[in-house]
């Protein structure tokens, strides 16, 4: 008869679904070749990762500090050119996140043992960044031993409390809830409660998603930080760790004590923080400079959307106008979206004649998406029916709108308009 351990092995092997999926690189098993690091792998870790040990109730964690000097270039941008000066924050970012003031902006990014959340998911690396005058500084906290988490979180909280706002990339759904769970796990107050928060993922979606180059072809709508940093900042990463590999590298360290797989993870985290900071600075620059600062039609369009969301109709209209002016036929989608947004904001401002002209531009585009063409023809039908009274033109446009309509509800409304127009035309013909 098999022993308990043998039966357990059989159960765990057959258990299948609850065991981890295949990691994207083979995880080296504990006790593998490189475990023979040195007599004191912990001491070696500080040297290897160029960090410094901290101790809290007998448990050690590692703190790694880096300073990027003012002249350091990340892609096309130098750190000094991005630095906000003053206290280290940008009050203009209140357009994208309520409550942001001049206080220091803390850039925050976690590397975790998984994406699932819950009590068993840890943040093994807490990355913090901030502008210190014209330089950029990063402090990383590495959980070298699980037992050190409380002490580590204490120090993170102290650092965070000095900030006026926090910026993340996807922190609304991931980083902040996760770190909050860690604080709750240790029955500590989270320093981020009530702190103004700029989630750059949402900003980047509006400003830059879909790529910036007007290729004319279908552009990928990915919003991964690495892609945005390449297209917006011109920074290309070499030898970066794929995100899916990060947890297994940490587990490998935990089992073997060998910190070498972590070096690339720390660098990945630093690059994320640096890109996050420079993209945030770029956003602040756009908001400061207004429509004229936009570097492309898409950026101007996105800027207009940020303004519109914050209820700044005038700035939004100016941005849309600039976006429309900057478009080219080659990028039909952006052009249609820009003219559409511009026409809508003009109509809201009750500048009907100008709005009608903008709607005509939408319709005039080659390869205009049907949904937008439909909306434009309907808007023009309204215009010609009620303002610039031209019933025949209105009827033709309504017919055109009906052809383009996809949704039954919309079609019903257009049909009623068409019927009314036909009646009015018939009546007009009688007299």
């Amino acid at each position: 008869m098999s022993t308990l351990a043998e039966r357990l092995r059989g159960v765990v092997r057959s258990g299948g679904s609850a065991s981890p999926g295949p990691p994207c690189v083979p995880v080296r098993r504990p006790g593998a070749a490189e475990a023979e690091e040195g007599p004191d792998p912990a001491g070696g870790l500080a040297a290897l990762l160029d960090g410094e040990w901290r101790e809290s109730s007998g448990q050690r964690y590692l703190v790694i500090d880096r300073t990027y000097p003012p002249g350091h270039r990340h892609g096309r941008i130098a750190v000094a050119d991005a630095a906000p000066g003053g206290e280290g924050g940008w009050p203009v970012l209140s357009v994208v996140a309520a409550g942001v003031g001049p206080g220091r902006m803390l850039f925050f990014d976690l590397e975790t043992t998984g994406l699932a959340g819950g009590a068993g998911t840890c943040a093994f690396l807490v990355g913090c960044g901030w502008f210190d005058g014209p330089a950029f500084r990063i402090r990383q906290f590495l959980l070298a031993r699980y037992g050190a988490e409380r002490g580590l979180l204490d120090e993170v909280a102290a650092l965070a409390r000095g900030a006026g706002a926090v910026a993340t990339y996807n922190g609304k759904t991931f980083d902040l809830p996760l770190i909050e769970t860690r604080f709750l796990f240790h029955r500590m107050d989270t320093p981020f409660a009530g702190m103004p928060h700029v989630d750059m993922l949402h900003v980047a979606r509006r400003l830059w998603s879909g790529g910036l180059e007007p290729t004319g072809a279908d552009t990928a709508t990915s919003c991964r930080l690495a892609e945005i940093e390449q297209s917006v900042l011109g920074h290309v990463r070499a030898g970066d760790v794929p995100g899916c590999e990060i947890p297994s590298r940490y587990f490998q360290y935990v089992r073997s004590g060998d910190g070498r797989p972590l070096a690339a993870v720390l660098e990945h985290n630093r690059l994320d923080l640096l890109s996050l900071a420079l993209l945030t600075a770029r956003t602040a620059g756009l908001l400061d400079g207004g429509a004229e600062a936009a570097g492309s039609a898409r950026e101007a369009l996105g800027l207009g959307r940020l303004y519109r969301r914050d209820g700044r109709a005038r700035e939004a209209e100016a941005s849309f106008a600039r976006a429309a002016a900057m478009t080219s036929e080659a990028d039909a989608q952006t052009a249609a979206a820009a003219w559409h947004a511009y026409a809508t904001s003009l109509r809201h401002a009750r500048r009907y004649e100008e709005a009608a002209a903008a709607w005509s531009r939408v319709m005039g585009l080659r390869a205009c998406p049907p949904r937008l063409a439909q909306e434009a023809s309907e808007a023009l039908a309204v215009h010609h029916e009620h303002r610039d009274i031209n019933l025949r033109r209105a009827r033709d446009l309504a017919r055109q709108a009906l052809e383009l309509t996809g949704s039954p509800g919309r079609a019903h409304a257009v049909r009623r308009r068409l019927a009314r127009l036909e009646r009015r035309l018939a009546a007009a013909d009688l007299f």
Partner: protein, 793 residues
């Protein structure tokens, strides 16, 4: 807290008239197994026994109860409330409509009134039950503290919107949930529930009897995890459980919670006299053992009561039967079109709004009859009705009593009628009334230390809180479990002196563990009639037998045919069809004994105990074909061959070894002897299912027919195995009930009126040979009575 109904002598007279008509004057006591009415029993009326409010009950709670007309409690309520207030775990088993919700609501609300930080968690086996309890608890809480920031009562389950969850975590004094949600949505996120776990005073588990078998084994582990987290937060909740009548309520509670319990089982609520009838539809084809349709019989019986203005509930065994009976009764009794509906159907698939409407109209009395699946068996408030008609035996004694309890007033008479179908279990019960009326109800069995289940929950527990090097968990050495998990990289033991086991995997283990089965692997059923909709799922083990190519798959009375089984992709593509048959897979199963726990040295027919064994086995099974069986007549109308992969599992089994001496003493040919063994196994399976209080698919059967007496001299064996990897604890109890199993199997076969075997006893004649019934009886006779001397002589 239940509506008090007036006593109406006219009702009692009407009821008596119908009963007399049905029984033709047969009086209680004498059973007539071959008659149309096989039994008529009268359960006498019982007077109420009251007790004052227990001393510890908060004054404000007493006031609220008094405001609702409750000046004193029933004796069992007072006892249960007192135990709970004094922080002793308590299990309450009293029948339907005895006011059991008060047993837990009163101490919980009292504790919250005295300490507003106190919290309680209620667990119900279904979401619908939690919703049902919410209204009542809400009303009480509102009366207790009308201010807006009073006592917060919320359901928290899969339907709770994401944005409401945070508020509930912060504000709920009482959380109404289910074990599945606790397992995958609450425990793994315990830091966010710190307020609850800090102050958890009471855990209420309603319908405890629902947690048997796999579900119960999982629940024990969920509760182990719950109590582990409570220890971490420094709380130690008191458990208040309620259960329908089962044989071992205290044992089940203690097995699930792993702490000693107080039992409250003496019902103090009054109830009127109740008559109980067993009806067996008459045989229409004696040779094939075919009886008149039990649905038609149910229609007739229900009609008798309805004609005399009595309000009734009909329980059917399936959704299809529910719909058929609803149609029958509507045809017979519904008023003109547009009039208020007097007959309603009720089952799980109906929308909640519709169900609430039916429940209300039942309480008000405008609905005169409801036909329901087991959906109305659990504690949903529909008031007390005059009559309960059971179309088919509900499968267990406990469920039968619980359903019968739906009829019954505090005063005045009521009746319950069981109409047996031709299923073997139904026939056994209806022909052996004493089994039902006099025997204790079933034992609920669980095996929380089944390695498959245990390992899954150790993973979840390790995710929630790191294990320490000395922490116990379950019956096995958890350090050894953790060691094996570490070999697979799921946990890591930190190097410190007091090392802890850290979760070192990206996965969220609770997601991969379903509480309602052992293996989370399953097959999904995709309907391609119009597009591709998932219409069902089936566990991995039963997939090949129910979803093979050309199989008929039933959902809500609709028939689908499997067009293709994608075994690797775990998908079956089906299309809706119209046909008059269903399919029954032919499975070849081979059982190999790995280790025998208890067995005789040599099987000896003289001592029945020596023919039984139990232990660990390896089961390999393969679906090799299928039969097409016509609905209603159960005729075999065709067959097909299949080639599907073999499935293997390591589980536990009980087996009967038929001594060679018995085989040699049979004056029949080898083929007939083999048929006898097969027929015997068919009957034993039915009885085992009855004794174990389990579902049909919980156990499997395999026959090792032995070899030709001349050549190998090997004893035939009948295996009844746990149909779950690792086993969930059916085999040892079945071994202990061996004598009972054999005696009842003999009773089943001997009592069956068919000539050569039928689906009720040894299986239909087409399945086994013409002598199967005779040979099976001979084997049982020899096993029971022959001595070794006689055999060797």
């Amino acid at each position: 807290m239940l509506p008090v109904r007036r006593t109406d002598p006219a009702h009692d007279t009407a009821l008596q008239t119908v009963l007399d008509r049905l029984t033709g004057g047969l009086q209680g006591g004498q059973d007539t197994p071959d008659g149309w009415i096989t039994a008529r029993r009268v359960l006498p009326a019982r007077a109420a026994r009251y007790a004052p409010f227990p001393a510890g009950l908060d004054e404000s709670v007493r006031d609220v109860l008094r405001a609702r007309g409750i000046d004193q409690l029933y004796a069992h309520q007072a006892l249960a409330v007192a135990h709970a207030l004094e922080r002793r775990h308590v299990i309450i088993t009293t029948p339907t409509a005895s006011g059991k919700t008060l047993c837990y609501n009163a101490p919980v609300l009292s504790a919250i009134r005295r300490d507003p930080s106190a919290r309680a968690l209620y667990l119900f086996p279904t979401k619908a039950l939690a919703q049902d309890q919410l209204a009542e608890l809400h009303a009480l809480a509102e009366l207790l503290s009308p201010d807006t920031d009073g006592i917060g009562v919320f359901t928290y389950d899969g339907d709770t919107p994401q944005d409401a969850r945070r508020a509930i975590r912060g504000r709920a004094h009482v959380v109404l949930s289910n074990p599945d949600m606790l397992h995958s949505g609450v425990l793994p996120h315990h830091p966010r529930w710190a307020k609850l776990f800090d102050n958890l005073r009471y855990v209420v588990i309603d319908e405890l009897h629902a947690y048997r078998g796999v579900f119960g084994s999982h629940l024990t582990n969920v509760l182990r995890r719950l109590r582990r987290i409570c220890r971490h937060y420094g709380s130690s909740p008191t458990f208040i459980c309620s259960s329908a009548t089962i044989a071992n309520p205290r044992e089940l509670a203690e097995a699930l919670v792993e702490e000693p319990f107080e039992l409250v089982s003496e019902n103090g609520a009054p109830c009127g006299e109740k008559a109980f009838l067993f009806v067996n539809p008459p045989v229409v084809n004696r040779q094939l053992g075919i009886r008149r349709s039990y649905l038609a019989e149910t229609r007739r019986v229900a009609g008798e009561f309805l004609k005399r203005g009595l309000q009734l509930i009909v329980f059917a065994q399936s959704r299809l039967a529910t719909e058929i009976l609803t149609t029958y009764l509507k045809d017979d009794f519904e008023g003109p079109a547009g009039a208020r509906e007097r007959i309603r159907g009720y089952r799980g698939g109906y929308l909640p709004q519709r169900r609430r409407e039916i429940e209300r109209e039942l309480r008000e009395g405008s609905v005169r009859a409801v036909v329901s699946t087991s959906a109305l068996e659990l504690g949903i408030d529909i008031g007390a009705l005059d009559v309960c008609v059971l179309a088919g035996y509900p499968g267990t004694i406990a469920a039968t009593w619980q359903r019968a309890g739906r009829a019954g007033r505090r005063s005045g008479r009521s009746a319950a009628v069981l109409v047996a179908s031709s299923a073997p279990i139904d026939q056994f019960v209806v022909r052996h009334p004493a089994y039902f009326f006099d025997a204790s109800p079933e034992h609920a069995l669980i095996n929380p230390d089944n390695l498959h289940i245990l390992v899954d929950h150790v993973k979840c527990a390790a995710f929630e809180l790191p294990f320490t090097a000395s922490e116990p968990y379950g019956r096995h050495d958890v350090q050894e479990v953790l060691g094996v998990l570490a070999e697979h990289g799921l946990v890591h033991r930190t190097g410190d002196a007091d090392g802890t086991w850290q979760w070192t995997s990206e996965s969220y283990p609770a997601d991969a563990v379903s509480l309602r089965s052992i293996s989370s692997d399953n097959f999904v059923v995709v309907d391609t009639t119009r597009g591709s909709d998932v219409i069902g799922e089936t566990s991995f083990t039963s997939g090949p037998a129910t979803l093979h190519d050309k199989a008929i798959y039933l959902v809500e009375g609709r028939l689908y045919q499997v067009e293709r089984l994608d075994f690797e992709g775990r998908k079956a593509f089906v299309r809706e069809i119209d046909c008059d048959y269903y399919t029954d897979a032919i499975t070849y199963t081979k059982v190999q004994v790995l280790e025998t726990c208890e067995a005789p040295d040599a099987p000896d027919a003289a001592d029945p105990a020596t023919t039984a064994s139990h232990g660990e086995v390896h089961v390999s099974s393969r679906v090799v074909g299928f039969k097409k069986i016509k609905f209603y007549t159960n005729e075999n109308v065709g067959s097909g061959e299949l080639d599907l992969p073999e499935q293997q599992m390591h589980t536990t089994a009980y087996w009967l070894t038929v001594p060679l001496g018995v085989m040699a003493a049979l004056p029949y040919a080898a083929d007939d002897r083999r048929d006898g063994i097969v027929g015997l196994s068919f009957a034993m399976r039915q009885v085992a299912q009855l004794l174990l209080m389990c579902d049909r698919h919980d156990i499997g059967i395999s026959v090792e027919a032995g070899s030709d007496a001349e050549t190998h001299m090997q004893e035939p064996r009948v295996f009844i195995y746990d149909n779950y990897p690792g086993g969930i604890g059916f085999s040892a109890p079945l071994y202990a009930m061996h004598a009972d199993l054999i005696a009842r199997t003999r009773g089943l076969i001997a009592g069956c009126a068919c000539e050569h075997g039928c689906p009720t006893c040894v299986g239909p004649v087409g399945n086994t040979g013409p002598l199967a019934k005779t040979v099976a009886m001979r084997i049982l006779d020899l096993l029971g009575t022959t001595t070794a001397e006689q055999l060797s002589a």
